[in-house]
């Protein structure tokens, strides 16, 4: 059993290293140009945001509409630190501080609001993130108000790659632990969780705090790559966009969030060519896909080798069905061809 786990870990590591090398080659040969690199960085940031929100909403079942608020806390914390210590070490300090400050905010927001359920929780978290935004607008001595902060670029895409891997690794291991199972059981049935002795409030707050921690990291990375941050970047729309990635990938599927972040970023950068109708097409596409796959791309399953096998079997079966239907049709046609003679 241990051997298999090790082998699995090893495969994963190989895949990651390969991915890294491929991207590196594409970047250094300029096949991925500067413009596309920004998309790449956006993908990484969105993966961190989506995976951390999935922990809160998809796995623990707590509907949050305030993820952008915690991201903004991370972004401002990091930007304020790198403004004073404009070095890579300053950035590292900034990310750590961003994560810690955002998670403290998440804890303080979560403690009172997580008593609420469903829609009420969504409204409360939305309200909280709007409050955070308005505070940033009004603290102009420190944050420069609505105009925002301008810093420098401290990171390249490699940093984002590393932080994304760490985030996904941490959250996926958390979910496999007893704590993670407690979180999932709350989503499945809160009353039953209480009945087996799970402290539901504690685990809801824990999921919310960890989710905010990583949202803070995402914010810090955003500030350190795109170097302009304004309160309006982290508005309600941003929270909704993160939620869209999570729902589209599948509530309760980490690999779904990863795939979905990639697909949606590619789709929207492709749609930029149709600038007038870009948002309409994007929304339309989302609607169409959600109609055909209401559980999201992956439902609550995870991507795995075995699943690829299933897919092959699935496609094979469909193919067979299609062929046999065609055969039936042709025989039916022959029947028809023969029929008229008798009718006469």
């Amino acid at each position: 059993m241990k051997k298999i786990l090790k082998a699995k870990g090893f495969k994963m590591l190989t895949a990651l290293v390969l991915t890294y090398i491929i991207i590196q080659v594409l970047v250094s040969t300029n096949i991925i140009n500067d413009y596309m690199q920004a998309t790449l960085v956006t993908i990484f940031i969105n993966i961190i945001l989506a995976v951390s929100l999935n922990l809160i909403t998809g796995f623990t079942g707590q509907f949050s509409l305030g993820h952008a608020g915690f991201m903004s806390i991370g972004a401002y914390t990091c930007a304020l630190i790198t403004a004073r210590i404009p070095t890579t070490w300053g950035f590292i300090l900034g990310v750590l501080a961003a994560a810690i400050v955002a998670s403290i905010a998440g804890y303080l927001v979560g403690l009172p609001t997580l008593r609420l359920r469903g829609d009420y929780l969504a409204i409360a978290t939305l309200g909280m993130s709007e409050i955070i935004r308005i505070i940033f607008i009004n603290m102009d001595d420190i944050t420069n108000g609505a105009a925002g902060l301008l810093t420098k670029r401290f990171v390249n895409w490699t940093w984002l790659f590393i932080f994304t891997v760490i985030t996904v690794y941490f959250i996926s291991n958390f979910l496999k632990s007893t704590h993670g199972r407690a979180c999932i059981s709350i989503r499945e049935d809160e009353t039953a969780s209480e009945a087996v002795g799970i402290n539901t409030t504690k685990y809801k707050v824990m999921a919310f705090t960890i989710g905010s921690f990583f949202a803070g990291i995402a914010g810090a990375l955003y500030a350190s790559y795109f170097y302009v941050i304004k309160p309006d970047i982290f508005n309600f729309n941003k929270s909704v966009n993160i939620l869209v990635i999570v729902v589209f990938g599948g509530l309760g599927s980490l690999s779904g969030s990863v795939v979905s972040a990639i697909v949606l970023a590619l789709v929207s950068s492709f749609l930029q060519a149709f600038s007038d109708v870009q948002m309409i097409l994007y929304s339309l596409l989302l609607i169409i896909i959600m109609i055909f796959k209401p559980g999201g791309l992956l439902g609550s399953r995870e991507l795995s080798i075995a699943m690829l096998g299933d897919w092959r079997a699935f496609i094979g079966e469909k193919f067979k069905a299609l062929r046999s239907r065609k055969e039936k049709k042709t025989t039916a046609k022959e029947d028809l061809d023969n029929d008229p003679v008798e009718n006469k």
Partner: protein
């Protein structure tokens, strides 16, 4: 084993439990009956710590547990099967049972108890790899009881286990409750089906508007005219 003294519970201004006192002795089946909204569920939830009582005391084997968290009460053997069929819908039957042992660390004991649960409910063994949400209502109720047994209850609270089940299944559930009791678990049973409950209970309390009106042995109450009129349909 369990003693409740003058327990008061409020929901805002609603005085839901008006100083109830009751006791359950080791090895007994005690039933709590009463009309809708009488406060049966509230009593169980207050004793298992899911809601806070404003005043009164709860003693488990002589020790006050009124300030204990719900989790610690489960650890101490007060295990609650909530009203309605609460199972972890997307998890398998086996995973549900394993979560029942959430607070336990004795792997061997857990494996042993899973076997024991399958003995009580053979259908759960058959369905062990099926998602709990796809079980029938009766099977889900059995799973909820089985999961509670996995927490090693000293006293098991059952909140309307027969609700919504076909008559034959009601019979079966009651006979399983009796078996579980005979295997050494004390039971506090809340039921709408007063007739059946009184038949298997050693003692019973009748709750009305948040107060205990009558108490006595199951047989006594079955014969009482007042009870017959109010709860047994004539």
């Amino acid at each position: 084993m369990l003693e409740v003294r003058d327990l008061n519970v409020y929901f805002g201004v609603i005085h839901a439990l008006k100083g109830i006192s009751l006791s359950v002795n080791e090895g007994e089946i005690v039933t709590l009956i009463g009309a809708n909204g009488a406060g049966k569920t509230t009593s169980l939830r207050a004793i298992s710590g899911l809601i806070k009582a404003r005043s009164g005391d709860i003693l488990l084997n002589g020790q006050s547990i009124i300030n204990m968290s719900a989790k610690d009460r489960v650890k101490n053997g007060i295990v609650h099967v909530p009203e309605g069929r609460h199972v972890f819908t997307e998890m398998t039957v086996l995973e549900n049972l394993e979560l029942g042992a959430y607070l336990r660390r004795d792997k061997a004991g857990i494996a042993q108890d899973i076997k024991q649960v399958y003995k009580h409910f053979p259908i759960l063994h058959e369905r062990r790899k099926q998602a709990a949400g796809t079980l029938s209502g009766g099977e889900q109720q059995m799973l909820a009881i089985g999961r509670a047994l996995m927490s090693k209850p000293k006293i098991l609270f059952l909140d309307e286990p027969s609700m919504g089940l076909a008559p034959l299944l009601v019979q079966e559930i009651f006979s399983i409750i009796k078996t579980i009791n005979e295997a050494g678990t004390t039971i506090l049973l809340v039921e709408q089906n007063a007739n059946m409950a009184l038949q298997i209970a050693n003692r019973a309390y009748v709750l009305e508007n948040g107060s205990i009106r009558v108490s006595g042995s199951g047989q006594e109450l079955l014969k009482s005219d007042a009870i017959k009129k109010a709860y047994l349909g004539g």
